[in-house]
Amino acid sequence: MSTAVMENPQVAEPARARSQHAPIPFRTVVGVELRKAFDTRSGFWLLVAIAAAGVLATGAVLAFASNSDLSYDSFAGAIGVPMTILLPVVAILAVTGEWSQRAGLTTFTLVPHRGRVIRAKFVVTIAIGVASMALALAVGALGNVVGSGLKGVDTTWDLSPTSILYIVGADLIGMTIGFMLGILTRNSAGAIVGYFSYWFVLPTLSMVLAANQSWFEKAQPWVDFNFNQGNLYDGGLSGQQWLQLGITGAVWLALPLAFGLWRVMRAEVK
């Protein structure tokens, strides 16, 4: 009897520990990652900068646009440009902080399945993107109403829901590019430099080449992802344009993302 009493607690001890803790739900991981996007100086000021740029852009349109240019498209477009450029940086920092700041040592020991953390980061990235654009469209609408009221012209709503969807889609692709570069480089500085090359250097080269070489002008839609992404802002893509977007997207976005993810799952976290 006494041996049974002695043994029981030892046997029972690990069993109690095992049943006691429920698995961490995905929404908890998403919630924590959302918080992490705002709780550092860089993250906080980046989001403040995005909001400030939106308000400034609205002000600029109000101040400088001629009466005939005072339309919803001008407002939304002016707000959209800084957002298109800055939002991908949010995506980059969400990923690279784990490595550049080495916070991943804690993150990936608390949630040992890296795929869950990365998926949560992607959900947060897209959510921030959608929320920011909704805000931009709302601020633009407000600017449009106030602006046309002040100047005594008719309020023009010249942005169809379809073109709004195209713009949102294009910006989300931009954020996914940032996310991909973060995953691929795992380094804040490297990813941001890579992003601006991706965004400004490659398209310029491609444009110059297309202007000088007629063979490339024909080939461009089939190789230049940025070119096809740009088409989204104009809306109304043909079947062939969708195909070109899909092919270039697969090569310039999906493939490097898959390679980066494959490495992230296996790499050491130091």
Binding site: E13, P23, D39, L110, H113
Partner: protein, 298 residues
């Protein structure tokens, strides 16, 4: 309980961890001792899934680390106190851990209190923390989930003497309540005072493992005489080992036997005591020396 079995990690041709097997038992503090670069940190990283092993396995509380449903509630980990986002405050880092583990919000204040970080300090950003404060924050992160197992890599680094004493008491208390503690150090004396069990690693291999008393007993007896060589001869003549070293003779005979041999041989002793950590220390210095030589060669 931590079980590490035949763990090996190679980087190209270099073997950082070589067939390492050991256990850390509940209710005991296990010291993981070895010179810098011996493979301690790599072993610990493999244990918590941050580094994939080349071969071998490890479990925590009977499960692979990746299979723990909420690891922070079962094992507290501190691998590098400086590995935190420098732009977050101490309190924010604890809040993130508290939310991930889904423990009560009040734990943040409780744990800040436990590691003696003040309200004002917790509101500062980690970039303005001293190494000692980062260690305290790291220990707080490890303890916030109220785990049964603690894994700490060089936790005494950067702590002042009072901090080291505090840490020792904390770990002792944790083990006395039935917890498992695995802590690494490259300082023998630091670990000698706190550990119950020792695992000594050098160049990726386990070179000694056992309870502290076993390892210390194995050290034998240290004696000295006016003529140490004569004493050594007498001991060897009586069938004991005798090793002449600086300032005396180390032997596997116990103190009473050495006294008898010396009396019979007419060699007056000037010193006679258990060798304590001397054997362990020599072994450890030997390891460190090998390591230092390698660095010079490279």
């Amino acid at each position: 309980m931590i079980i590490v079995e035949s763990l090996t990690k190679t980087y190209g041709g270099f073997t950082a961890v070589d067939n390492v097997t050991f256990r850390a038992e509940p209710g005991r503090v296990t010291g993981f001792l070895g010179p810098n670069g011996a493979g301690k940190s790599t072993t610990m990283r493999i244990l918590v899934g941050l580094t994939p092993p080349s071969s071998g396995s490890s479990t925590v509380l009977g499960r692979r680390y990746a299979d723990l449903p909420n690891p922070g509630r079962e094992i507290g980990v501190l691998l590098d106190a400086s590995a935190q986002h420098a732009g977050r405050t101490g309190r924010e880092i604890l809040t993130l851990a508290q939310r991930t583990m889904r423990v009560d919000r009040s734990r943040v204040d409780e744990i800040l209190d436990l590691v003696s970080l003040s309200e004002e300090e917790s509101a500062r950003r980690v970039r303005d923390y001293s190494l000692g404060m980062r260690q305290r924050l790291g220990i707080a992160t490890a303890l916030i989930g109220d785990p049964e197992v603690l894994v700490l890599d060089e936790p005494a680094n950067g702590l002042d003497p009072a901090g080291i004493r505090w840490m020792r008491d904390l770990l002792r208390g944790f083990a006395n309540k039935g917890g498992t503690v695995l802590l690494s150090s490259h300082l023998l004396h630091e670990i000698e005072v706190i550990a119950d069990d020792l695992v000594v690693i050098g160049n990726g291999r386990i070179v000694a493992a056992g309870t502290k008393s076993e390892l210390l007993e194995a050290a034998g007896t240290f004696a000295n005489a006016a003529e140490p060589a004569a004493l050594a001869r007498a001991l060897t003549g009586a069938g004991h080992s005798a090793e002449l070293s600086l300032g005396g003779v180390r032997t596997d005979a116990d103190t009473a036997q050495v006294g008898q041999v010396a009396l019979a041989a007419g060699v007056p002793l000037t010193e006679l005591r258990p060798a304590d950590g001397a054997g362990l220390e020599e072994m450890f210095l030997e390891l460190t020396k090998d390591n230092a030589r390698e660095e010079v060669a490279a």
